[in-house]
């Protein structure tokens, strides 16, 4: 199991007041994303556990792209990966941010 951790600074807090959300399932080619509004408003962390080793740079790029698009300030995001492709990861992250915006 490879553990990755990324920390980003955003220019704003993610809108909405929802405290937590979960989306996706740990299945082959899929992943689950747990989002918790527990950090200071312009911080975001993404922690990942994945059985597929050696893709740290891809994860880093996908997470950076997501942070730039969603500006998920205040969120602690934790991922259990089941071997999802980058596009699926990107989709789930955006889904998760949308769920938190209510």
């Amino acid at each position: 199991m490879e553990k990755l951790s990324f920390r980003h600074t955003t220019s704003r807090a993610l809108p909405g007041a929802k405290a937590q959300a979960i989306t996706g399932v740990v299945a082959s080619g899929n992943l689950e994303v747990l989002l918790e509004r527990t950090l200071p408003p312009t911080e975001c962390t993404v922690e990942i556990e994945t059985p597929i080793r050696g893709y740290g740079e891809v994860w880093e790029a996908v997470v950076a792209d997501f942070v730039a698009r969603a500006e998920p300030g205040g969120l602690r995001i934790t991922i259990n990966d089941g071997g999802a492709r980058p596009d699926t990861v990107s989709l789930r992250l955006l889904q998760g941010a949308r769920l938190m915006e209510v």
Partner: protein, 314 residues
Amino acid sequence: MNERIIDLAARGEGRGWATSWYEASARARIDGLLDAGSFREVIGPEQRRMSPHLPLFDLPRAFDDGMIVGSGRLDGSAVLVAAQEGRFMGGAFGEIHGAKLVGLLRAALKLKPAAVLILFDTGGVRLQEANAGETAIAEVMRAIMRVRAAGVPVIGLIGGRAGAYGGGGLIAGTCSRLVVSEGGRISVSGPEVIETNKGAEEFDSRDRALVWRTMGGKHRRLTGGADAYADDTIEAFRQAALDQIGRAPAFDLATLEAEQRRLEERLVRFGDCRDATEIWGQLGVNDPESVPALTTADFETLLVSLGETTHDAR
């Protein structure tokens, strides 16, 4: 926590759209089954009570270990509910997964809800933590007995892609009532297990039509293995669950003796049949070959015409 797309829920369209039970996640099933917004999860994913065993095998864990438990309301009545996520490790019972269900059932003894709903979606015991899983199966069956003896119906809902196999099939057998859909399957040994042990002549697991007419929802309903047949929608399962709570049999000696008698009779009557279609023929179905293709409405009409599928034994 639910994972329904918020935009639809906000417009009040959460109920009413024909969401497939089979395709839905465990969380989406609970969300659509219970009264809107009434679900309160216990030991939610944020508590990160994950399997202590899977890391030994370098396998990914799930925050809820594939079992979601909590309380909610069904048409206003308080219920406890447990749902298995069949896509995570085939919905299999591990230590945490099983303990959450046992805990929910024990809580039912104190809380006395109108019912406990178990949304099965499981291949059985998780092989990586088999001892804990097997123990959990036994503990769940014992707990269901206690809950039923205390007068609380336990309703099993089966329509997920993993069905209710292995220990999950055993647990299903101890429920007060079972609702099954066409896609739902109930058995103990799965098709591949039977073929591996007895050969393809005995059971060809690649013959999907054979698998479904032997273990699928229609066959289980026809032979009394399930008490209600539902369309593959969350709304249909909700209606069927509501209906079955009111029909749960007493959990007493008379019920169990009647069940034993009926099982013995079933063995005498159908023991020599080589295929489910033979059983359906003996039950009085005029055209057994047509059963798998029947719509729900036509299948219900058939059940009424047979008139012998309303009993408390499975």
